[in-house]
Point group: C2
Chain length 117, copies 2
DNA sequence: ACAATGTACAACCGAATGGTTGTATATTGG
DNA sequence: CCAATATACAACCATTCGGTTGTACATTGT
């Protein structure tokens, strides 16, 4: 597994988790996952400047979790389901790592462990 | 739905996603999910000071993704599977929002959403 | 007893974050 | 054509972040 691609994967993970680590951005993401919203429409929902919301949208866009589409003077944002899925799969991978510990301990101690849940 | 509990949930989400938004911390989490590791052992794996690694461990601990147990002079860290799961469930919730299964966004709209995939 | 080990934490530093205001540039409606 | 709307982006500011070094303290091994 080349370090090249892994590095890019880590960069992507950094960007996505960082994008999710702010409640305003998570809220924006929830909204744009229900359908397209212009940046102005989104901005109207929060108690902060338009520029601040626009920057949050930019962070989400850079992470790939949100996609923008131009329509006249408006920029319509929508959430990217596949990106959300890819984040979830990273978490699943972590859980699989944990399951690896179970089987090892099972071997070592001889104590049968139930590998479900 | 009380804002009290929701606020706490958002705080927890902030902490967990923030903890995950750093590749060193993700790597530490992978290690401690395979089994217990002392902070020194972990620190030896990275090209940075012991204090830096210790702070990363502290961030993970504050987020709940990592738990520490004292054993003599050592502090043994292990990953908390349930916490990882709770993060994954947040992502699943987002995917459910996309599917339109969740009415959840209290304010605003009932935009019709195409319920496939 | 005491030197070595493992951990915690404070103080500091440069860079990044999350917010602001202000300015510039398209696009639209009348 | 012109004013209003929608967006982008720069400059700035306070705070947080990720790293450092240094100090303090408890536990261990000899």
């Amino acid at each position: 597994m080349d370090n090249e691609a892994n590095q890019q994967a880590e960069d992507a993970a950094d960007a996505m988790f960082h994008a999710l680590a702010d409640r305003t951005r998570r809220d924006i993401l929830r909204r744009v996952l229900t359908g397209e919203h212009s940046v102005s429409t989104l901005a109207a929902s929060y108690d902060m400047s338009f520029a601040a919301v626009q920057k949050h949208v930019a962070v989400l866009e850079r992470s790939g979790l949100l996609v923008k589409r131009r329509s006249g003077r408006e920029q319509l944002a929508s959430g990217d389901l596949e990106a959300v899925r890819s984040v979830r799969s990273m978490l699943l991978e972590l859980e699989d790592i944990w399951r690896g510990r179970i089987s090892r301990i099972d071997e070592l101690i001889g104590m049968p462990v139930d590998p479900n849940t």
